[in-house]
Symmetry: C2
Subunit: 478 residues, 2 copies
């Protein structure tokens, strides 16, 4: 038992130090490793397999929504990045610059893409001529680079993986519609697949994307009460089109500017998964995203017939579930601890006594509940159990989130709530950037979003007391 | 008809100018677009969809072979790149260097990965401790950068997409076995899925990968008689392990160096597909890799019931095939020309007269052969037809390849064959690098590989006349 203890004891508890708990989990669950490149991470098989599942499911939903995948260069010439004023101001301070190709200095510096609006604009400028060419609904799966000073695995890394969609439309309405459609795809995906409840809303002017007319976002609440921006969708109107001269000929043979959107979701979401569902034994993965849904653990596997039966069970289940058998020479207790660390939703224990009785034991990772199931019914029961786990994980996360939303009617209540019950604070806002800045400076909380479902919980701004315009979700954020 | 003519006439014929034909096809079939970043390409939806199919099928085969996917940083610190002498000599002259992050100059330059051996070594050095940690069989799908002077879409681009596998093993034999296994996976994939016959063999010392002990390759023959290296697999022995000190403790508690391999296949393969199967009407795609396998073209679609029937046909076929309906307002002739350009394997023509007779017409892209098929049987016949096309495309490509292999017994025959019948030349070789260099300088042909299936077609070297050691496939190459 010494070894098992060591494995489990090696995680700091959430209560003690949430940040250290997070770091321990990403390392011990073998999701990432640190690399020799400062601020960049190595995504190991267990971490990358989660990303592959995110990609597969999201890509399927994208394609149903008429999205085509493309691939654009990873480099952006400096002059191209400079074309849209707000955009370059937002990104230039944090890009990596390529100055030499082989032995030669380049005539013009190239930045490694921090995001690809400018490249897509340059492409669309040549590719769009007539209304018949619209809409363009393209996406790419790639890595991007932002030269951050403080980094944390998944949450803030100098290089990260993401998808970035970039669309061009004939009308302003089409662009708004697409921006909302993609935000809803993100939100549904987070809730249905990652069991992660999110708030859908619009960013304030201060928090919107550099160069956007409007930014929509989904915001999730982590276990420590901090918010995580889990995905964003931007409406650019015709701002970029004017900067890049992207025009089309309409049905009346008139030149018109296109209207554009972009939307992105990244490996940061894996950080969200960890912090929404994890516990002091490690990762807890929702069945729909778990690379391994079920691990069969033979008990007393050296006894005759045990391994055979475990393998037979694997064969019976593998068509329907992502299942594995752990037939390594480790002790069962060690295996249990490892699988808990990795967040595998269900383990099946199968020993000589179970086999005698024609049964096995299903153990849930999330609640640790055990049920005995006859071997004949295991496939059917497992299917129901995985659905139950998925549903209950969402419900638990939602209950936790809802229990950590506090309404504040004035600045005193606002500050007290932040101190006493970290989470989202709902507070009215006058619309003035000065109030956002004051709140951020004094409390480090920021406006997370103006939810689509607005409500008038007070008539005055939670900060300055002037007439209120919008309900805002506030919070400290990753 | 004017428009159709324009579309078709806009491709240069292969006979007239093969290079221009290639450029025309990649543009007109909308596979790529040029970008503002010199030497980098934009992969458009039709091109990227081919890459997605390559990825999906190859990744499936990798996973069956025990490969796990990971993701390592795109940057390599200069000091890390410098650790293996041969490797840095091979790659340093053609890498892009990042010198600044944001406003600050970096303390150490970072190159954008041209390939990731050094990063994987650095990772494995920390990740491998005991024989229990072996083998490591990891792969990543990513883009790499090589600062080439002359570029061509897919074939040689400053940035390209690929997969790179990197493995570490306990013994030299395990590494050799993995190198061969992966080469065979590549070869089988090319032949079975891309209908592209390949020669499997080993590279000479001169042509092997920088830092490798042995490089194996698959070589395909293009329509113009030039060779294309379609995939490579390298055995490093313990060379990199010694440079990076990657050691493990064996069962006897002794420290041992690991043995490593790497293997890669890239978007260059799409260039190969074009040049093996294409014709003067554009692309010809093998059914197994074609993003759209079947296009339904309604004839006189404005007539009552035609579009309805076309859509019903689509509904009946979509579960089994990758099928689309072209119900745009273009003329049927224009649609035919477009689909030929895009290489869609089969089109189904369906007009009022066909509907009356309860039939439709299947037209093969590769041979243009037409068959009338009753609407009841269309799914079954289509399935057989696509298999036939796949098989016959491979057979035609193989017949062309075999017809362009010439045996040369001396240097005169060698040079004459290169002039008169461009293709592979089989010629014996003494093993001396000087002969390879002389042949390359005088004829521009290079040693492509020493085939696994060796044969003694002569006792003397085709260049110098000294005793021969190996049969070599020679040829001009992309």
């Amino acid at each position: 038992m010494a070894k098992e203890k060591k494995l489990v004891a090696s995680i700091t508890s959430m209560e003690e130090d949430f940040a250290q708990w997070y770091t321990d989990v990403v390392k011990k669950a073998e999701l990432i490793d640190y690399s020799s490149v400062k601020g960049c991470m190595i995504i190991k098989p267990a971490g990358y397999a989660i990303w592959e599942n995110i990609q597969a499911e999201l890509d399927r939903r994208f394609k149903e929504a008429g999205v085509s995948n493309v691939y654009l260069p990873m480099f952006i010439p400096e002059s191209l990045l400079n074309k849209e004023k707000d955009h370059v101001e937002g990104f230039a301070p944090e890009v990596a610059w390529v100055t030499h190709g082989g032995q030669n200095e380049l005539q013009e510096r190239l930045c490694v893409r921090p995001t690809s609006e400018t490249l897509f604009c340059d492409f669309y400028k040549n590719d769009i001529h007539s209304y018949r060419d619209l809409p363009k609904v393209y996406n790419q799966w790639c890595s991007v680079v932002r030269w951050e000073k403080e980094t944390r695995p998944f949450l803030r890394s100098r290089e990260f993986l993401w998808q970035e969609g970039h669309t061009a439309h004939a009308t302003a309405e089409d662009a708004v519609e697409r921006t909302e459609q993609m935000l809803n795809i993100y939100a549904d995906f987070c809730e249905e697949v990652l069991a992660m409840p999110v708030i859908r809303g619009q960013k304030t002017e201060k928090e919107k994307f550099a160069g956007a007319k409007a930014t929509y976002a989904i915001e999730a609440l982590m276990h420590d009460g901090k918010a995580l921006q889990a995905g964003t969708s931007h409406n650019f109107g015709d701002g970029f089109a004017k900067a890049f001269e992207i025009q089309y000929t309409d049905k009346n043979n008139q030149l018109q500017y296109v209207h554009q959107t972009s939307w992105g979701l990244s490996t940061r979401l894996i950080g969200g998964l960890i912090m929404v569902h994890g516990d002091d034994s490690g990762l807890v993965l929702p069945p729909k995203i778990a690379p391994v849904q079920v691990m069969v653990v033979p008990i007393q596997q050296q006894k005759e017939g045990v391994l055979e039966k475990a393998n037979a069970l694997y064969e019976a289940l593998k068509g329907q579930f992502r299942v594995k058998v752990d037939d390594s020479e480790k002790s069962p207790g060690w295996k249990f601890a490892e699988q808990e660390m990795r967040g595998i939703p269900v383990r099946i224990e199968l020993g000589p006594k179970d086999i005698e009785k024609g049964q096995c034991v299903l153990v849930r990772r999330d609640t640790r509940e055990k049920v005995q199931v006859s071997l004949e019914e295991v496939s059917e029961k497992l299917s129901i159990l995985l659905d139950t786990i998925q549903t209950e994980m969402f419900e638990r996360a939602k209950a936790h989130r809802d229990a950590h939303i506090t309404d504040a009617h004035n600045y005193e209540e606002f500050k007290r709530a932040l101190e006493e019950k970290p989470g989202f604070i709902r507070g009215m806002w006058c619309g003035d950037r000065a109030c956002e800045e004051k709140i951020k400076e004094e409390t480090t909380a920021t406006s997370r979003c103006m939810p689509f479902e607005q409500q008038q919980i007070s008539d005055v701004c939670v900060c300055c007391g002037k007439p209120a315009k919008k309900l805002v979700f506030w919070g400290k954020a990753y």
